[in-house]
Symmetry: C2
Subunit: 329 residues, 2 copies
């Protein structure tokens, strides 16, 4: 019998509303017969939409949680007052039920992160990191950590992120000694802001880390390293500036294609969209918790749900590798 | 009679050596009859190269300064021991001689900045900022300040940069109230690292600044603001990540053009190179000193010298506007 992979989808908290996210889920279900969902949110809305999208009833469950965590909620308040929200109830249920593999949420990161710590970190309670997997120039992926969840960081936190990123890349892609780089304003070891200068020797001296030194922003996605460590402010810049530049150049190409009617330009545009449309790429992955928590962007649509479901299925396929490796670390 | 614009070119200190830089100067002289140069460096080398490039002798002077400031020189040491270097003698001569308009150097920024303060800041001695003029999506330019010269910044320094950037954009492009944005990890006023959160209200309350709020990395070059304020570490990321992403996509397009032999793709590649080849775009501009100091990248070649000379000529044409406005500020 086929092993099913059951994923919680937090249908509330995103900018585009549950209908759009469920559309993505329906498409993901069509592509992947081994997939099934637990839709967390307003049961009336979910039932209505699932009916319209003709999602077979055996492919999903409903978790009744009609309250949304909003972008305006403060973490501390939400953690106490919104325990029955689609996000927090989803996280709790994921922690409680063995048959659930992971969760997708496009809700408030400021609540998602401590929520995951509460329900999914067991006894450890260390601060998780938000990682982003970005396409490397040399093929494969670069794990950018932190990708924007922890804005102000200390040296110890960056070291911790290096360990989380290394261990993730080892488990996820079977890389024996993932190469760890430190984002800086120059490749030389003397370059960096105060935080980078303090962190550099600590990474170099850590015997568990395969440190390859400072990496400049222009080489962030070159493939010079498997894990790129930085504070969440810098990580957010890497993500957003890459996205802004790619979007702008792609817009130029689309304009050119339209103006000239060139089919080559249109072909090129489609090809590049597949590689560089960061908004449809997988979301952030929370590292340091017991089960996969995937954060989609606030403005995530159907395509993001499809991509992230695919990512979770990949992770599930590697689960045996995962678990074996985790015991060794 | 045509008004000549005389520019100092520091021929040493770059990765590619004086021959390459002089090639750029020769080409700039061919394009602009009003331009002339003072070549600072090794007189033997300069004479030889100028001869080979057939640069007319009335179009250049030689400043004898055969010692180079290297990337390994520390600012304090170089400022005392290398006063006769091509960079520092060039700066000093620019400060002393009224007929000289500005300087181009691709040497060590760590020495260039305090060198400019010593010889070109008059009585003020405030810390200058390194600005970069980047092509905005809406046309015109965004002044990114600081672009990488001052890596760790305080709130007061960022405020100072906002003033320098505003005043520059007002003088350079005649923008009456340049819109100032603050680079952050989200557009909301509550977003930011500790430095950004502290700086935000100070910018908002400053009556001389037209503050438009936080700007995300994805909108850095959108044209939402005329001046984008950030610390040098973040500014370096914006520049380098933009460059890395653009280079990568352009490489993809070139590959496609080669593989398919598509003339449309080649045409598109050439067009995009003109807009996004940041390495050939003008260099950093030092704000807060009495004369234009333009920093080219360490690996700058002939094309960079041509672009930056053009930029200096534009600035010289606006000099009347400049001086008039400066008196009001």
């Amino acid at each position: 019998m086929m092993q099913t992979v059951k994923i919680v989808l937090d249908t509330l908290g995103g900018d585009k509303g549950p209908a759009e996210l469920l559309k993505g889920a329906a498409e993901a279900l069509r592509c992947h017969p081994e997939l099934s969902f637990v839709f967390s949110g307003d049961p009336v809305l979910i039932r209505e939409q699932a009916g319209e999208l003709t999602i077979p009833s055996e492919r999903f469950e409903i978790l009744e949680a009609p309250v949304a965590v909003t972008q305006f909620d403060h973490a501390a308040d939400a953690l106490f007052q919104k325990t029955e929200s689609s996000m927090l109830k989803g996280l709790r249920t994921l922690g409680e039920r063995e048959d659930l593999f992971g969760i997708i949420s496009c809700g408030n990161t400021g609540v998602l992160l401590p929520g995951a710590v509460r329900y999914l970190s067991g006894a450890k309670r260390v601060r998780p990191a938000m990682a982003a997997l970005l396409p490397a120039e040399t093929g494969g992926f670069v794990c950018l950590v932190d990708a924007g969840a922890t804005i102000d960081c200390s040296k110890d936190l960056l070291l911790h992120f290096a360990h989380l990123g290394s261990s993730f890349m080892a488990r996820m892609y079977g890389i024996e000694r993932p190469r760890v780089g430190l984002l800086s304003n120059g490749a030389e070891p003397t370059k960096g802001n105060a935080l980078v200068k303090e962190t550099h020797p600590a990474l170099a001296e850590d015997p568990e880390i395969c440190f390859v030194g400072n990496i400049e922003g222009s080489r962030a996605l070159s493939g010079d390293c498997d894990v790129l460590v930085c504070d969440g402010f810098a990580g957010n810049q890497v993500l957003k500036v890459t996205e802004g530049t790619a979007r702008r150049i792609l817009t130029d190409i689309a304009r050119y294609a339209k103006k000239t009617g060139s089919s080559d330009a249109l072909d090129l545009f489609r090809h590049l969209m597949g590689v560089y449309d960061i908004s449809s790429l997988g979301g952030g992955i929370l590292l340091g918790v017991e089960k996969p928590v995937l954060k989609a962007r606030g403005d995530a649509g159907a395509q993001a749900v499809i991509s992230i479901s695919q990512m979770l299925l990949n992770m599930a396929q590697n689960k045996a590798v995962f678990d074996a490796a985790q015991n060794q670390i």
